[in-house]
Symmetry: C2
Subunit: 205 residues, 2 copies
């Protein structure tokens, strides 16, 4: 399989991290979104939404949306819980991630990282919303080691992978994580995995 | 089971519509989000994210996020496809709905509906993003009756339910659907179901 991917992207990192944990083989295809490579007619013929990551299977079929790709790779492995309620809770946190967390924390990181002067006026609202998302995570982690109850494997699910991706680089978006001890402990717990890779790393296979 | 719900909300409507299609019994608990009832300490002790819909099972366990609730209700029924690839495509469209469609089309509808003068400056950007989401749906529906291949039931999946909810009221957000013949035909096809209900209806049970 082939992953259309941009290394600094947290959404792409989710998929690469899961591929590394699962020890899968894949081909990396670099799409530089900053240079506009995801908005060309060529790439849009592959993914009409003009987004990475995009997974292409060996038979040519394709899946977009980072969390949908993770579902496809995780289903039947210890990273996807076994019963329907826990699966729904896993999806609940993944939809929270895409609705409340990524649109504030990842976008603030993007504006900071690329020093986009014309978008700096968005930062106060993004910062407020991002901290609200972190508050919800912090409260949940006061009583839980991971985001979802999962009897399989070591307890991690793809909900943890989804939330780790942009939380661990929230500092690059101007967020101060030191006021969130439960999140800090969860980040440490999460990255303590023999196949862990950093955000711009390509898994060895 | 109990659904914390606000009748004009498209996100709540998704769940109510699926409950009606599946012929399930439930108790309706009205939470008026316009009057701030989802932001009280009482409701936040039930759902820390302060959002409806929220499903409470008879044993007290709860699921938030409309699309996660739909997964829980649809899993094992004809509204959730049988194989992992089609399931992932179903989630792909549901994440698209929550990331690209709802944050533009539903928010534009909200600003129009409640004549929020102080937020009208957001409308040009929301309108542009909403039309991009509709373009993607229109192109997909040129070659497909439904959003996902599904051999079960009549072909509908929860991806269709998710996208129907705010698309069929996009006009209330200022969007002109007459330029989208494939979407118009799909809306007609979708609503042609014996248990179909309108957005502010409560399913009979």
């Amino acid at each position: 399989m082939k992953l259309y991917d941009y290394l600094p992207s947290g959404n792409s990192y989710k998929v690469r991290l899961l591929i590394s944990y699962l020890g899968l083989n894949y081909e990396h295809v670099d799409i530089n979104i900053i240079k506009g490579e995801s908005q060309t007619d060529g790439f849009k013929s592959v993914n009409p939404a003009g987004q990475i990551p995009l997974l292409e299977l060996s038979d040519g079929r394709r899946i977009a949306e980072s969390n949908a790709i993770m579902y496809f790779l995780a289903e039947g492995t210890p990273y996807w819980p076994k019963n329907a309620f826990d699966q729904a809770k896993c999806l609940q946190w993944m939809f929270f991630e895409q609705y409340k967390h990524e649109p504030s924390i990842a976008v603030a990181r993007y504006i900071h990282h690329y020093a986009m002067e014309q978008r700096k006026s968005e930062l106060p609202a993004l910062t407020k919303r991002g901290y609200l998302a972190l508050d919800i995570m912090e409260a949940h982690l006061a009583d839980n080691l991971w985001f979802v109850v999962n009897d399989s494997g070591d307890g991690r699910t793809i909900a943890d992978v989804a939330l780790y991706a942009y939380t661990h680089v929230a500092g690059e978006g101007g967020f101060d994580l030191t006021q969130y001890p439960n999140i800090m402990a969860w980040l440490d717990r999460f990255s303590d995995h023999p196949n862990h890779i950093r955000i711009t790393d390509v898994p060895s296979s």
